[in-house]
Symmetry: C2
Subunit: 294 residues, 2 copies
């Protein structure tokens, strides 16, 4: 169970090809073959069926373990190295698209006002990658957004010992086209929308949506981008509904396109932003954490 062999194995499984994995990892095909054989010999069972190359049941099981395991390994390495790193004046921030709401942006500004030398690089990524980025030290601080019950923590992938702090919670609204039968309502229940068509977009992860409104919502339009205005335009045009934090939808029904934001009354849900970071190394980061935590 050498991590080296494990990496090779997941790469082979991902590509479905020994040769392709060899090319990616910079080995010869022969080496890859031997490494996989070594791993199989070590465990005493076949992990891959050949031609076509696909994991056996045992292999599939191992794949489930391997990815988080390798992540934790990289995270541990990064964490140890962090203890020896000198303080940086550059803070690398990673955030999911909806995490930088007005409150967060304002608090960031306050922190920068207090520390003029502080430089910030903000990078966007999906929620699944965020924890990994922070754990591996490729970002110093992470801002994740998601939908949860009030004062419940978000369910982020576990990538080792990390601190998470709630930053903001705000109302969750459904973005409806102006002409929608429910558009005028003061609030609505998700249960009223079981049959509705939903936008599939990373702004509101389909997996979470499925948890909330049930399995069989009809396939609508899929938007793979991050832009809220695009999503709102799509919603306004009737391509599907979407859940957003109240602050993301312009007030007053929105000028041209016309979407209407109706708060979700039941189940009781909020849009939550959380700050996550590993052991705080430098002084500047600690101050920023304090500022963001409010």
């Amino acid at each position: 169970m050498d991590p080296h062999l494990l990496t090779t194995f997941v790469t082979v499984a991902r590509h479905g090809s020994f040769s392709a994995a060899a090319a990616e990892l910079g080995y010869t095909q022969s080496a890859i073959s031997q490494q996989v054989a070594a791993l199989e010999a070590d465990l005493g069972l076949a992990l891959l069926r050949r031609r076509p190359v696909e994991p056996t049941p045992a292999g599939r099981r191992l794949l489930e373990h391997a990815e988080p395991l390798l992540l934790r390994l990289r995270a541990a390495r990064a964490d140890v190295l962090r203890t020896a790193a000198e303080p940086r004046h550059l803070l690398r921030l990673a955030a999911t698209p909806l995490a930088v709401n007005p409150v967060v942006a304002a608090r960031l500004a306050e922190a920068r006002a207090r520390q003029p030398r502080l430089e910030i690089r903000l990078r966007m990524c999906r929620a699944e990658r965020l924890a990994a980025l922070v754990a591996e030290g490729r970002a110093d601080l992470g801002l994740a957004d998601g939908i949860a019950a009030p004062s419940d923590p978000l369910r982020l992938p576990d990538a080792g010992p990390m601190t998470t702090t709630g930053v903001t919670e705000e109302d969750l609204v459904v973005a409806l086209p102006a002409g929608h039968p429910l558009a005028g309502r003061a609030s609505l229940r998700l249960a009223d929308l079981i049959d509705a068509r939903w936008l599939r977009t990373p702004l509101c992860p389909p997996a979470r949506l499925r948890d909330l409104v049930g399995e069989g919502f009809p396939a609508g339009l899929e938007y793979e981008g991050d832009d809220v205005r695009t999503a709102l335009n799509l919603a306004a045009a009737g391509h599907g509904l979407t859940l957003l934090p109240a602050s993301a939808v312009p007030a007053g029904g929105g000028g041209g396109g016309g979407v209407c934001a109706v708060p979700v009354a039941a189940p009781r849900l909020v849009h939550r932003v959380e700050l996550l970071h590993a052991a705080l190394p430098p002084g500047a980061a600690a101050d920023l954490v304090a500022a963001l935590s409010g």
Copy 2:
């Protein structure tokens, strides 16, 4: 960050000696020295201060990561091997001392009545080791007990993907000596007992106790064993109080010794038993899980 080197490192740190670690691992002292040097070279920083041998700050950080990392590695290995293992008629059960309460014992009996060929080996261990035992496949099922808020899960060490199910919840009582001023009460609040002397015993883990009644409880008697009657006898003799599930204290004030069980009214706490298991391999285990889950 080879796990091999990691193992060596934690062994050296545990023994505080290269030679002792070499003896335990079956290497020469020279090999150990080279392995530690290799790990330090890989990370580019010193992990151990020599003579006396003790971890540097970075080394301490790595130690925190290494143990759970190695555990997960063993767990992954065990889990993969389990997929290929043939069903056993012997089920290895691991439990913390207070986990096998009357309800659990009864449900175990029901399951055995349904499956006469089922053989069970029950082994006791501390809560900290339980998750590791199950994850590594050295036990098929684990029964953990602990104190939690009603319907809150226990906080068990994370050892990879495992299923945990609540089994029972029952009232939590304080075992008081019969002559104690609060002994007659129908219920009490933990806050009333901040100044009390508590037994330190694995039956009620001191760490948890500290969370509940605060830091500075005076050092009383420490009982390292598992036996409830011994603990009750100690409590009756005034060596200190202890928290137990109601079913562990004989009703009616207890004949000879005389302990009095007073339920804890605030904070709202229960004694909870949880069942934990990895991917369910054989048919017999699945049935037992169903039986225990009630």
